[in-house]
């Protein structure tokens, strides 16, 4: 059992879910921030996972293991700004309010961000379970020939 690559797969999965969690947490943390007329406030971000390069055709078991070794079986990701207009809020007393008395808040969907958090945690846990199963299997392999 090549546990190096088995661990690497699960580690990559955990990594991407942690990043997803951090992005959602950053969005939530900035949900209440305001900006003035220039609208130079917080840009809502999102994580975009890129499908791994596993083909849509079947390959042999050996070819699959080769791709795993080259790190091609795990997803890549990038964090990008989500397009969307800032929300206009009327607040005449605010020091940054424009001439009509408006300030701008980032357009963050709290419910959607909470969903992202919950999903990321569950997938992270599944990756931990996979890692732990790989670890058990690797440890069992050490028991070959040890009595009984």
């Amino acid at each position: 059992m090549d546990y190096h690559s088995a661990f690497a797969i699960s580690a990559a999965g955990m990594n991407i879910e942690r990043a997803r969690y951090e992005v959602a947490a950053a969005n939530l943390a900035n949900a209440g921030t305001v900006s003035g007329h220039g609208r130079t406030g917080y840009q809502t971000r999102r994580l975009v996972a890129a499908a791994s390069s596993l083909g849509t055709d079947s390959s042999s078991g050996g070819a699959f293991l080769n791709m795993v070794h080259q790190g091609l079986a795990v997803p890549g990701y990038q964090i990008e700004n989500r397009p969307g207009e800032a929300r206009r809020v009327l607040d005449r007393g605010h020091p940054w309010a424009d001439t009509q008395g408006h300030v701008y808040q980032p357009d963050i969907d709290i419910a959607a961000e909470m969903m992202t958090l919950a999903t990321a945690v569950r997938i992270y846990e599944a990756n931990v379970a996979a890692l732990s199963a790989s670890r058990t299997m690797a440890l069992r392999a050490l028991d070959i020939g040890s009595g009984s």
């Binding site: 999965g13 791994s52 078991g61 050996g62 293991l65 079986a73 997803p75 599944a126 299997m137």
Partner: protein, 126 residues
């Protein structure tokens, strides 16, 4: 009695395959949050049935027809509509638990095999 050739080779192939299946499942779980990812599936039992009908039980004949990693196929799991199926975490975890248990059973079989050989080598003495 040639217990050595058949058992060891079979167990090694089966362990290799269980290890490959673990990596396929881990890959599916790692890609669970990726849109557009088609669940990968290890299709092996079809291969086994296709390859084993000629086996007569003689170790000599078993040799070229062993189930091996090279003969296993890893590919997208296509649903009834011909499209790749999305990853379902519960399904993957259940399959992983089964596979892990299978691997440990094989390991125990391997240990028993060695203890039989040990028994033979020491003429039954402990």
């Amino acid at each position: 009695m040639n217990i050595e050739a058949l058992n060891l080779d079979l167990l090694r192939s089966a362990l290799d395959l269980a290890s490959l299946r673990q990596q396929v499942i881990a890959t599916n779980i790692a890609n669970a949050g990726t849109p557009g990812y088609a669940r990968q599936r290890l299709s092996f039992s079809d291969q086994l049935q296709a390859q084993w009908p000629g086996w007569t039980g003689e170790p000599r004949h078993a040799e070229p027809t062993h189930p091996r990693v090279e003969s296993a196929q890893v590919g997208p799991d296509l649903g009834a509509d011909g499209l790749g199926r999305a990853v379902r975490l519960d399904e993957e975890i259940a399959e992983m638990a089964l596979n892990s248990l299978h691997y440990q059973a094989l390991m125990r079989a391997l240990s028993r095999h060695f203890s039989i050989l040990h028994s033979a080598a020491t003429e039954g003495r402990r």
